[in-house]
């Protein structure tokens, strides 16, 4: 890391456009930050006795769900609410959103919101 092509690659991965005139400046600043991160190379981890699993489930917890172990997984990972219950605004399946779209979105045509090509 890092030259012009590395930064262009990172921009592509991050879906960010950077003006050509700013690429050089951005490259230098990112190089400076990464060099700072390389300070961690001076740190000897093994001496400090770090035994954390960092996100790996304990071996006693099954990683694939079967009818026998679902309860074991549920007991380990507890979520009080389903994702769809987090917000109090509701999704009305029967609603016709055409009027809402025309009100909220300026870029629409024939009752449809215009989106980028896929």
């Amino acid at each position: 890391m890092s030259d012009y092509y590395d930064i262009k690659k990172l921009c592509s991965l991050s879906r960010i456009e950077i003006d050509e005139s700013k690429i050089q400046q951005t490259t230098e600043k990112i190089k400076e930050i990464i060099s700072f991160f390389n300070k961690l190379d001076e740190f000897e981890l093994n001496e400090k006795g770090d035994n954390d699993t960092y996100g790996n489930l304990p071996q006693s917890i099954p990683t694939t769900s079967t009818s026998d172990n679902e309860e074991k997984i549920d007991n380990y990972i507890k979520f009080e609410k389903k994702i769809n219950d987090l917000r109090d605004d509701s999704n009305d399946e029967n609603n016709n959103y055409t009027s809402l779209f025309s009100f909220r979105f300026h870029n629409n045509k024939n009752g449809y919101v215009i989106g980028p090509r896929i």
Partner: protein, 488 residues
């Protein structure tokens, strides 16, 4: 009605409203008059909530008139950092990319403040998405320090600290990812607190780095901090990182605080490496503790040299993931996508992020990329774990640890930031609490010979916020720092 009411802390105002000495509606009008007069110089507000605030004030007045029960914060105006969702108000995160976004729901902290009859006054300026140490990286212009408007207010919750310091509102909410509450509190001479991770719900806070950030209060008095913490803390079923604990913080009297014989550790290696005026002020505070028979001893913290690099690796990695949702499809502003291909449309829209945000996203993508994950991200997580162990070791010997909030004095707008590291290095004392999840508070400690504020930072072990509040209360009583106000 006396125009000096704006000088009073929130808890006194609430008492006057409840006792019918003043009407909440009159007081809120006075607050907006003050904001309209002062904020042209400070630039702490991004949006205001005048009509809804007046409606709420009228409701509170009616409740009191009818002898109905009111909340613990009845009539207290509160400013909210612009990355915390308030239903019906813009939630821009000080970014161009969210300039038209209006939140469809309230964050849990806002629900809880409203339940206690607090009044939401408006949304406050900040560094874009919380990424900065000066509040200069805002699409809405930089925040000015009320003590000298040519100087930075600190960041990223610069608007939240400046608005309290300049006596526009008595209390505000900020968010703290690496010192974003404490840094501006230090630079603006107010109290700012980052609670233990998991104490306050983050539901409704626009995420920058989930594993590091917490919402917390900023005020001029410890009593207002306690009042706000008691309102916002607690388990939230919408945020699975909140803990099921009972929180009831108190404002203890000074005799009671002194009788607890708190053991205080002075992190002398970090104080010594600060600006001379900062170090001198902090040592004066330590002398004050010794004179009052606190058990004070020197100590040092290991691994702090590595902590800053570990912090920025984790923060940028989480930011690159969290900010991927801002593609102008799910959130964004009006822009005709006709003729754009999907990926080029997203990239083009995301170029509306500010330079610092773009830089952090790119760095985050780099440290998470295949081949570098073990070298950077995994190692940073391990250092984070070791730092937590180091704090556990220190808190076996001490109840609290003392160090400066910021290593240097506030500086002039535009003076720093030519290189990113120049600003990143300023976070060296504040990121320790975020990496280890412990609570921390910044309180006013004094001023430099140029009249620039200096902050004292106090750290305690997780869920020991009461000790922080006790030590802060000791200094508030001794120094009377709540009466330190900038000349308007």
């Amino acid at each position: 009605m006396s125009v000096d009411l704006y000088r009073l802390p929130g808890y006194i105002i609430s008492g006057k409203i409840k006792n019918q000495e003043i009407l909440a509606e009159d007081y809120i009008n006075l607050v907006y008059d003050r904001i309209n007069k002062i904020d042209v110089k400070i630039n702490s507000f991004i949006s205001k909530n005048y009509e809804a605030a007046i409606q709420k004030a009228k409701k509170i007045d009616n409740k009191i008139k009818n002898n109905e029960k009111t909340g613990s914060m009845a009539g207290i105006p509160i400013g909210i950092k612009d990355n915390i969702s308030v239903k019906g108000l813009k939630n821009t995160c000080a970014s161009k990319i969210l300039q038209g976004y209006e939140s469809p729901y309230d964050a849990t902290v806002i629900d809880r403040l409203k339940d206690q009859d607090a009044i939401i006054i408006g949304k406050l300026n900040m560094d874009e998405f919380g990424m900065g140490t000066t509040s200069e990286f805002s699409f809405y212009g930089e925040v000015h320090n009320p003590w000298n408007i040519d100087y930075v207010a600190g960041g990223s919750s610069g608007g939240s600290a400046a608005v309290v310091s300049s006596l526009q509102v008595p209390i505000s909410l900020g968010s703290d990812t690496g010192g974003s509450i404490r840094c501006p509190s230090s630079f603006c001479s107010v109290i700012g607190m980052k609670p233990t991770y998991g104490t306050v719900s983050r539901f409704g806070l626009v995420s920058y780095s989930n594993s590091l950030e917490q919402i917390g209060p900023i005020a001029k008095t410890v009593t207002d901090i306690v009042l706000t913490l008691n309102a916002i803390c607690g388990k939230d079923s919408n945020d699975n990182t909140t803990l099921n604990k009972q929180y009831e913080y108190k404002v203890n009297k000074i005799d009671e605080i002194l009788s607890k014989n708190y053991k205080i550790g002075v992190i002398s290696n970090l104080i010594d490496s600060s600006d001379k005026q900062v170090a001198k002020t902090i040592f004066n505070k330590i002398d004050m503790l010794k004179e009052n028979n606190f058990n004070v001893n020197d100590t040092s913290i290991k691994y702090s040299d590595f902590a800053l690099a570990a912090y920025y690796i984790i923060a940028t990695a989480e930011a690159s993931s969290n900010l991927s949702r801002f593609d102008n499809i799910r959130y964004g502003f009006d822009f005709n996508p006709e003729g754009y291909e999907w990926n080029s449309y997203s990239s083009h829209m995301r170029s509306n992020f500010g330079d610092e945000v773009k830089r952090r996203i790119l760095v985050g993508s780099f440290v998470l990329s295949a081949g570098y994950y073990g070298k950077y991200y995994l190692k940073a997580q391990k250092i984070r774990n070791i730092l937590k162990s180091e704090f556990n070791r220190l808190f076996k010997s001490f109840d609290v640890l003392i160090l400066p909030t910021m290593p240097i004095l506030p500086f002039k707008l535009g003076e720093k930031g030519s290189t990113p590291l120049e600003l990143y290095n300023l976070d060296i004392y504040t990121i320790l609490a975020n990496l280890s999840g412990i609570p921390a508070i910044s309180i006013p400690a004094g001023f430099s010979k140029e009249g620039l504020p200096i902050g004292l930072q106090i750290l305690s072990n997780e869920f020991n916020e009461q000790i922080l509040l006790d030590i802060a209360m000791f200094f508030e009583q001794k120094d009377k720092f709540s009466e330190w106000n900038p000349v308007q």
